[in-house]
Every structure is written in structure tokens, then in C-alpha cells.
Symmetry: C2
DNA sequence: ACCTGAACACCGTTCAAGT
DNA sequence: ACCTGAACACCGTTCAAGT
């Protein structure tokens, strides 16, 4: 207990602007651009201020602190995900297209991976998406807290699968790397594990993007199959 | 392409100490203590130096930079997970006790959640754990890349489920919060979603720890059921 | 109502200098 | 071989002062 109160942007009323020279929307948009270009570590209040040709500290008029700015940017992520109506396409199609769209959004905005799960998802877009996901699993036949459990299981899977993909992309993007050399280094680290070396060798002949997509699909189908079994018993 | 080479602690030989006043092991142990006590943001090279009654910059003799120090600490996480032998207890029991132990380790070291997936898992302990997990799924009957896909699916699920749990614990720990008040705030944010309010109300009568454990089990059983189905078809 | 710059208390890291 | 302190280039945030 520190005496601090838990806070979130979503618990406070935004400033009502009289003559909005700058606006929250503009700031969040600029922040997302910076995040997309330079990643989470590339976003600083100073840089963001400069981008908006303002002093870094001007931003504090619109936003309590950097964390709340991130909460705002984070919520936008959810706006980009699509959740089809289960009554139109069935719950399996609905939830798997949602899963694919969540993966796509994360890959498009790699910084979101560092925020997902860490930042409370209480923004309007996050809530809307969750609500739609709940409806999908209700349509599937889940009842009570099982609805939440099902949503959580799919979300957890998508998130957990996509995160390493992003980490890999970031690594590849940040460094001058040679695929062959990289494999050699990894193989050296795994030298004591013949089993893993074998699987590494198998992968070497496949397109990495295909392997990743296949892994995702394999797991997603499994998760949905598993959830479906909860319905019949 | 930036001209930088990709590096990892595991690709370089450690310094061979002649008279090791300090050692990598000691530094990593101290770093983990600091991490357990104060979290990821609580670890700074200066603080760690002070804890070891050394100058902050002395650490750079043992470790290339902070990222590599985190790689070292991160690998220790894997040492704490247990993966039973599938030939003794069967693949379902083996993989689910591994899943539970991974969850327990993450909850014990909340900072690990911010490293998992972000930091390359190339350390000896990470590799050992992965190797054992692969053996479990091989024993189950998976072949080829399916072994990796199965391991990835379970890992992704555990990680994705546990992360929000940790975020919640950290929030509760950091702030002076009243359960009732908190629920009120969340309910206000979700005011437009009657469906979610209903589920919020249901949860209010349950022990949060029980709800979380139930959610984890529900999902885990589903994932394993789903994987099992891959074996029969 | 909005914006500013100076200032504070931090960071990670480099490097020449010490022993 | 190991450790140090000074220095550099950054951070987020507060706050009194401006318009």
C-alpha cells in the first residue's frame, strides 16, 4: 500500500477544449505514427512534442502522463480488429477471423505487443471488441463465466503466438543479419539438443512466413476444437 | 539494415576470470532479487551496482549491457519450471503440470512476463525446458514440425493467460485500491455493455483467485483436447 | 485556457585513468 | 585483470511564469 490511487485515462473526464489548438486525437495519432516508425522505445514526450512543433511539456495539458498516452494509443489497436457476427457466419468462423485480425493488427503495430496485457483494456474500442467476442461465444452456446473463459483462451493463444513472431521481426529489422549465419549461431547454442537441431534443419527448407502461419493455424484449430468439446459434454 | 550485428549473451564466450572479485552468477542473482522486489523498472545498473557495493559501471566488465544482463536473468526463469517425463506420467499430465509450473514461475517473478517472448530464449535452461517439452509431444505421437506447433500452442496459451493475471497483481500491489470501488469504476467504463456488466456481477460473488484458476484450467483442458484431436485424424 | 523553458531526479553507456 | 568517476546524451515530470 503506497497511498497512490489506481487511475486510468478512462476513469477521468477529458478536458473540454475551448479553442483546441491541439487535441487529444491529434496527439494520439502522432504518437502512433512515432510508435509505428520507431517502436515503443522511440516514443518520448520530447520527440512527440517536437513532431507536433510544441514543447514536450505542452502535452501534459492534454494527457496526465506518458502511461495514459499509451492507454489511449493502445485502445486504437482494438478499433482495427474485426469481429464478425456469429449469427451470420457461425461461431467458429467468427472467432477465427477475429483471431486472424488480431494477429494482423499486432504485426502491423509491433509496439502493441508490449502493451497488450500490461495496460488495462478499459477503453471504448477494447470494450466493444470484447463485447462482440462475448456475443460470438454466447451464440456458440457457452453460458455464464464460461463465455469469459472461452474469450480469454482464444485471446491468450493469439497473443502468445504472435508475440514471438513480432520479437523475431523486430530483431531481423534492427540488425544486419544473414539467415544462414543466424541459423548457424542458433544451432551452436542448441548443439547439445539433437532433437532441436533436427527440427531446425527441417524448418530451414521452408519459408519462415509459411511455417509461422501454419503454426498459428494448427494451434487455432486446436483451441477451437477444444472449446467445441466443452459444448457437447 | 543498420549495420549492427545481432548479438546475444549466448553467442559470446564469458570472460574467464582470474581472480573473480565479482562473478556473473553473483550479479545475475542480485539482479533477480532487485527484479523480484521492485520489478523491471526497479532494476537500474546504478542500483544494482550499489547493491553489490560497486560502481554502476563495474558491471560492464562482466556483462556487455543491460539487455544481456536481462537475458541471463531471463534464462534462470526456465530453470524453475518442471517438465515431467511423458513416458512416466503420460503426455497430458506431463504437459499440464508443465503449464501449471510455468504459470507459477511467472506469478512468482512478475518481471518475467515482460521478458518472455521479447527476449530470445537461447539460454541453456530455456533450451533444456523446450527440449523436454518437445519430448513430451513426441511421446504423445506428434511428428515433424507438428511437435513444435504443439509446444508453441501450449506455451502461447500459458503465457497469454498468465500475463493479465500478473498485470492485475501488479496493479493491486502498486495502488491503494478498494475492491468495491474498483468494480464500480470498471462498471462505469463498461456501462454501455449490459452483457459485460452481467458477467462482472457474476464474478463479484466469487473469489478472484478461484475464477482465475478456473479460467486457466478451462482453457488448458481445451487446448490439450484440441491437440489430442490432431493425433487421431 | 493553453503553452513555455528551466530545473530535478533519474537513466544506460563510453572511456580515460587508476590499481 | 578489474574497478572507478566523470561525462554524454538521453529520459519523464513539476512548476512558476508567460500569453
Amino acid at each position: 500500500m503506497t497511498g497512490k490511487q489506481f487511475t486510468s485515462v478512462w476513469f477521468r473526464e477529458p478536458r473540454k477544449a475551448a479553442t483546441p489548438a491541439r487535441s487529444r486525437e491529434e496527439i494520439v495519432r502522432a504518437a502512433m505514427e512515432l510508435l509505428d516508425e520507431e517502436g515503443l522505445t522511440g516514443l518520448s514526450m520530447r520527440k512527440l512534442g517536437a513532431k507536433l512543433s510544441a514543447g514536450a511539456t505542452s502535452l501534459y495539458w492534454y494527457v496526465a502522463n506518458k502511461d495514459e498516452l499509451l492507454e489511449l494509443a493502445y485502445d486504437q489497436i482494438w478499433a482495427e480488429m474485426t469481429v464478425p457476427d456469429a449469427h451470420e457466419v457461425g461461431w467458429r468462423d467468427a472467432s477465427s477471423s477475429w483471431a486472424y485480425s488480431m494477429r494482423a493488427v499486432m504485426l502491423r503495430h509491433p509496439w502493441s505487443a508490449s502493451l497488450l496485457g500490461h495496460v488495462p483494456a478499459l477503453g471504448p474500442h477494447a470494450l466493444t471488441a470484447s463485447d462482440r467476442m462475448r456475443k460470438v461465444f454466447k451464440a456458440a452456446g457457452f453460458r455464464g463465466l464460461d463465455v469469459d473463459y472461452a474469450v480469454a483462451a482464444v485471446t491468450a493463444f493469439v497473443y502468445g503466438m504472435t508475440l514471438p513472431e513480432i520479437a523475431w521481426d523486430v530483431t531481423v529489422g534492427d540488425y544486419d543479419y544473414d539467415a544462414e549465419e543466424m541459423r548457424g549461431l542458433v544451432a551452436k547454442a542448441a548443439a547439445d539438443f539433437p532433437d532441436m537441431l533436427e527440427s531446425l534443419a527441417m524448418e530451414a527448407y521452408e519459408d519462415p512466413a509459411v511455417v509461422r502461419a501454419t503454426a498459428f493455424d494448427f494451434g487455432l484449430v486446436s483451441v477451437l476444437d477444444g472449446l467445441e468439446r466443452r459444448l457437447v459434454t
